[in-house]
Symmetry: C2
Subunit: 330 residues, 2 copies
């Protein structure tokens, strides 16, 4: 394994600090002013549409998850595509909601060999080494913990790793030689048993509380909720150990989980949507390599909009959520 070259640079600023200090726009205002070219389309093969049973008032509940692109966690991501295409998740349920931690779904009988739902063929078995990936080049870390007056080129001070930043739309940490995605609010991960089990992707959870970063490199992350997190985060908390529901009646049924690419495109000329049929949603994320994102991250770390009196001078990687937006049907 490569020995990382640690280099802490304290003087590189992506854009002029003086210019930023004049900018009193809120983070949302900065994002709203982004040019169209700063937005990146999410491929329909990377969108997972989870439909829960309607709530007590009959309202539909849909949760949309963006799956991670290469080089992150691709073995598990491909397993999830296989499971979704097989309709394997349909009829299962949300079985665990633990306050300030996770909402978890899958087969409630998954740990009972006699009752567990049979998995489709072809699922890959991943290794713990796959929780992180080697960088092609050794990263020059710019850890601004010492001088927190600016977000430097979107490198962030990180209590959990030598460096944290954003890569291809995702929050990551790095030690200079390896890189791994991190457990922020809304991130989706793969439930697993005791090591060396790494999970298949049949059991999934979403983070619904303060970032449980101690799980980084201990569990595979495969995506994030980009719409409808409130349908998970506002569920009643389970009263059993770890937030599992006590009775089957408390579980929230999953009607279906589909890849967006397997849903029909919305057609204004047809009545498919009016008839309640699912159509393919379209989403974009703000490029984390864009100038808009750098300004947005700086504003999250140094709030200068009128409500604030004391800019923090820093932010943790999970307090700079990557902006995502839904596009109207074509």
């Amino acid at each position: 394994m490569l020995k990382p070259a640690f280099l802490f640079v304290a003087a590189v600023v992506a854009t002029s600090g003086a210019a930023r200090e004049q900018d009193r726009r809120s983070p949302n205002e900065i994002v709203a002013a982004a040019p169209a070219s700063d937005w990146v389309a999410i491929a329909p093969s990377d969108l997972l549409v989870m439909t829960l049973a309607p709530d007590a008032g009959g309202k539909p509940r849909q949760v949309v998850i963006q799956l991670m692109p290469p080089p992150f966690s691709q073995g598990w991501v491909e397993n999830i595509r296989t499971l979704a295409r097989a309709g394997w998740y349909d009829g299962l349920s949300v079985n665990r909601v633990q306050d300030n931690y996770v909402a978890q779904w899958g087969d409630p009988d998954g740990e009972d060999a006699a009752k567990a739902k049979k998995l489709p063929a072809g699922l890959r078995v991943m290794d713990r080494a796959d929780y992180a990936h080697q960088l092609n080049a050794i990263a020059v870390l710019m850890n601004p913990c010492g001088d927190r007056s600016k977000v430097r080129s979107v490198w962030l001070c990180d209590p959990y790793a030598p460096g944290a930043s954003f890569r291809r739309g995702w929050p990551v940490s790095t030690d200079g030689a390896r890189e791994w995605p991190v457990h922020c609010y809304g991130m989706v991960g793969v439930g697993r048993g005791m090591p060396p089990d790494t999970g298949s992707g049949a059991e999934l959870y979403a983070v619904i509380g303060h970032a449980p970063r101690h799980l980084d490199r201990n569990i595979a992350l495969v995506g994030r909720v980009v719409e409808g997190i409130e349908h998970l985060s506002s569920l009643p908390r389970g009263t059993e150990a770890l937030g599992f529901y006590k009775t089957p009646q408390e579980r929230v049924p999953i009607v279906s989980i589909r890849l967006a690419r397997d849903l029909p495109e919305a057609d204004p000329a047809s009545s498919s949507e009016a008839a309640g049929q699912q159509t393919r949603p379209r989403f974009q994320y703000l490029s984390t390599e864009s100038a808009t994102f750098a300004a947005y991250a700086d504003a999250r770390a140094n709030r200068r909009d009128p409500f604030f009196i004391q800019p923090a001078g820093g932010a943790d990687v999970c307090n700079i959520p990557v902006p995502v937006r839904r596009l109207p049907a074509p």
Copy 2:
């Protein structure tokens, strides 16, 4: 104002690192083994009991809040005691629930001078300087950002300040000369208007998402939820801007907010509890100055219990929640 003397010390470890590396207990197991002397009683004058209207199934909903002790935010805390003793909060409501941010309660007509509920006399007007307090001695900061292999004497690497730690049971940040409480999950703060308004304590919120640390030193923190946070965090999210509920019917009524010291002590010989009357709850927190807390914090930052394969080597101050427990009635 004092010019802080920054001194980053990297070699002080509270207890033997080698001894800790042998310790594969989970954080919960460490807390469960704490001697009684490591637990500190919370004074009944520092406990606020908020009773919400029962949920749709008729289940009672009680939220217990610990108010901050000196030297934190005492002007606002005293205002809250005044408001609670006057019964001022009774009949108001939770008006705002914004996902991954806050649940907020108070007078829904508070910003309409004609309709606002009249405040009791004697509320203090606080200054922005009161968001932090001067330290008596200049703190020697031990910021372990550079070497994250251990939690050093419960000083933590902090992206938001030169140092973070725990003081008298509370998570704090410091610049060496001043110290301030920080916005972790469950913390309770004081809603306010635009600066120079600092709020009175009539409008309160609890954090129900990832720590919004950019609010530190911008809003007064006055306490934390020690029981029943799920009655706030699992409420339906408001659909208006900032998570405000659209209709008055969506608001969650507050039956009452009382100081525990103003509630009768539980009496096993009487039927007050059986009759549904409120009695005084009793809580303790784990001393953040105890050896148990140091071991617990180290275990939160370096999970060595069997589920984990890769200890993080660090934690942020909000991922080490201070343990609190309820005592049975005497």
